[in-house]
Amino acid sequence: MTARLAVLALLGVVVVVAAPAGATDGVRVGSKSFTESYVLAELAAQVIEAAEVGRVERRVGLGGTGIAYRAVAHGSVDLYPEYTGTISRAILKDAAVESLAAIRAGLRPLGLTISDPLGFENTYALAVRADAARRLGLERISDLAGHPELRGAFTSGFLERDDGWPGLRRHYGLGLAVVRTIEHALAYQALSSGTVDVIDVFSTDGRLTRPGTVVLRDDRHFFPDYAAVLLARTDFVEAHPRAWAALERTLVGRIDGAAMIRLNALADLQGRSARQVAARFLGREVTDAEERARLIREMGTLTLEHLGLVAAALSLAVLVGLPLGILAARSAVLGQVELMAVGVLQTIPALALLCFMIPLLGIGTLPALVALFLYALLPIVRGTYTGLATLDRQLLEIADVLGLAGWRRLARLELPLASVSVLAGVKTAAIWTVGTATLAAFIGGGGYGTLIVRGLALDDARTILAGAVPAALMALLFHGLFEVVDRWLVPRGLRLVMSRHG
């Protein structure tokens, strides 16, 4: 059994060493995980590819401003689409910084810069039904002040944020008869069915292409500027002047609000991939057949990435967790401290743990691997500890009498006798890791989660399932695999005992 364990450990080392080989010397384009960000990032990627400055790696679908910003600040991506308002408020933390020059000045010490605006703004806006607008003469937000009988339904974020409804109400002196909370996905339906009269929308939402909805003009300039720009690393701009020039030539000032709404609609409403949408904007066409073929190739890549992440994290966790478990079983005090420490690690939400990794390790495979490794530790340490701490006392005394001590005792008696519990821990860790690895996509770690994140962004159940179903199948596969590993590693004599008692 010890020889077999050694073989497995060696295999683990090989996987660990081979896994992070995905490092790249090309340009890395990031995006956040919503449709517009995917589309803009893809546009930038295709423009850079056309400028032929090298390979472009897409690290898209990063989970939110915090992660995307850390990724670019840390140098894990070279650029990603962002909005001026978000940069002032969320990154520079000063809403007063508004002008491009002021934003650039604020970003300079961080080693970052922005492009000129791409030509559109994505901000909160209020929308009403077209027939109501005609009937009541609604064109501007200030027109709402004369119609307090209207019913509003707003998303929870908009209702709470000071740059949302509370501020807007004060600014315009508005009063609506009814104000309710509604999910963004349901708001358009509620509006068109006449259940509500006013909703908050994003000004470039693809659904605004549908007839029957009118956006009210922000005539008293309440909503801050959320002009789309490219947020890039200064060193990237300096190292790739041709790529940056191509981006400015092709994208800056070229996408107005109407164009962005159309591009979002292509992705959200007509099921086109970001790649197809971006290609169409740049005057090319990516056919559905090409796109399907690419998706199949992508599935293969994602499967390998997911499997690699799980195998590497799990192997590392076994290599570290097994000795930790043995140590814990040797000393009562150390054991308690250790189990507490790995237990605390476990209580950190997976997504938070992934975020903590970014300042240390950037984004991509490595931080995901480390986070998954930390998660997999607890069941392995606990399984090893429990297995060793509950060994038959008489059998241990006989070992004492025989003078069996140290490594020989551990390898020949204790670990084999504890093997069932150790392997149960490893198995639990494996199945958790397959599941948790889907979150790696939020920090650009790849794997099946990439599809889940993309599907969530596009509100596309098929894409979500394309990621979730293989992940579930992989968990089953690992379950089956461990039945085999159990047979191989649990000594036959122990299995006989269990089958007699079971």
Binding site: Q394, L395, I398, G403, L404, L417, R492, G493, L496, R500
Partner: protein, 248 residues
């Protein structure tokens, strides 16, 4: 060879051994007799250095045994427990070979020794390929005995070695042990609650009760000149009832 001098031990508030002394002469079999909880197993474990004596000491070959210093016992003492105490993940052969592997014997030497032991114990060598779960209780006990004998130790300590066996196998093995002890000339300290076993195997007997020595001597001493009524009571409790004696 084994000497116990005024040993007392307690587990928390419970007195496990109370001023126990005994001597086992080389080549003799000494039986610790008593019901469960009498302290006989604890005494054996003190001699093995598995339990520390609070006061007094146990000596093997004149050397004091403590849990911290029992290296000199390795290879000098064979230890057999109830049901054999076999490692379930090792085959019979693996179990028997283990003590020899621990002291670094060569494969050939171990194989030869195991063959010799199987002959001595009347055990089919092919059965040694089986795992403990595939052996009967009596077979497991024989394997346990072979494991205790593999390094040919001069001392043999047995803790209820036949306790878990059914009567026929038990009687069979009692006869077997008697033959082996005589043939090998080992110094034996054996723990049992079975008077018949004590009479059959022991040249001297220590009867224990609640951690104390009640009486030491041969069976004849105990039967003829009981130190207190308990001795007669204990010996008599396991004798066949008078109305059945005619059948024996």
């Amino acid at each position: 060879m084994i000497a116990v001098r005024h040993v007392s031990t307690r587990y928390g508030a419970t007195v496990a051994l109370d001023d126990v002394s005994l001597d086992v002469a080389a080549g003799t079999t000494h039986v610790l007799l008593g019901s469960s909880g009498s302290g006989k197993s604890t005494l054996l474990r003190v001699v093995l250095g598995l339990v520390a004596a609070d006061t007094g000491q146990a000596l093997v070959d004149g050397v004091v045994v403590t849990p911290a210093a029992r290296r000199h016992l390795i290879g000098r003492v064979g230890y057999v427990v109830q049901e054999g105490g076999l490692y379930p993940h090792l085959t019979g052969r693996g179990n028997v070979s283990l003590p020899a592997e621990a002291v670094g014997w060569s494969r050939e030497r171990i194989a030869a020794r195991v063959r010799g032991l199987a002959e001595l114990a009347g055990f089919d060598e092919a059965m040694l390929q089986r795992y403990p779960a595939e052996l009967s209780g009596g077979q497991r006990q024989r394997v346990g005995l072979m494991r205790a004998l593999v390094l040919d130790p001069p001392l043999l300590l047995l803790d209820e070695p036949l306790g878990a066996l059914d009567p026929i196998v038990r009687a069979d093995l009692q006869a077997e042990l008697r033959r082996l002890f005589a043939a090998l000339g080992k110094t034996v300290l054996l723990v049992t609650h079975d008077v018949r076993e004590a009479v059959l195997l022991g040249s001297t007997i220590t009867l224990m009760r609640s951690g104390r020595v009640v009486q030491q001597g041969t069976f004849a001493d105990l039967a003829r000149t009981p130190a207190e009524p308990f001795v007669t009571e204990f010996l008599g409790a396991q004798a066949p009832p008078p109305e059945l004696r005619a059948y024996l």
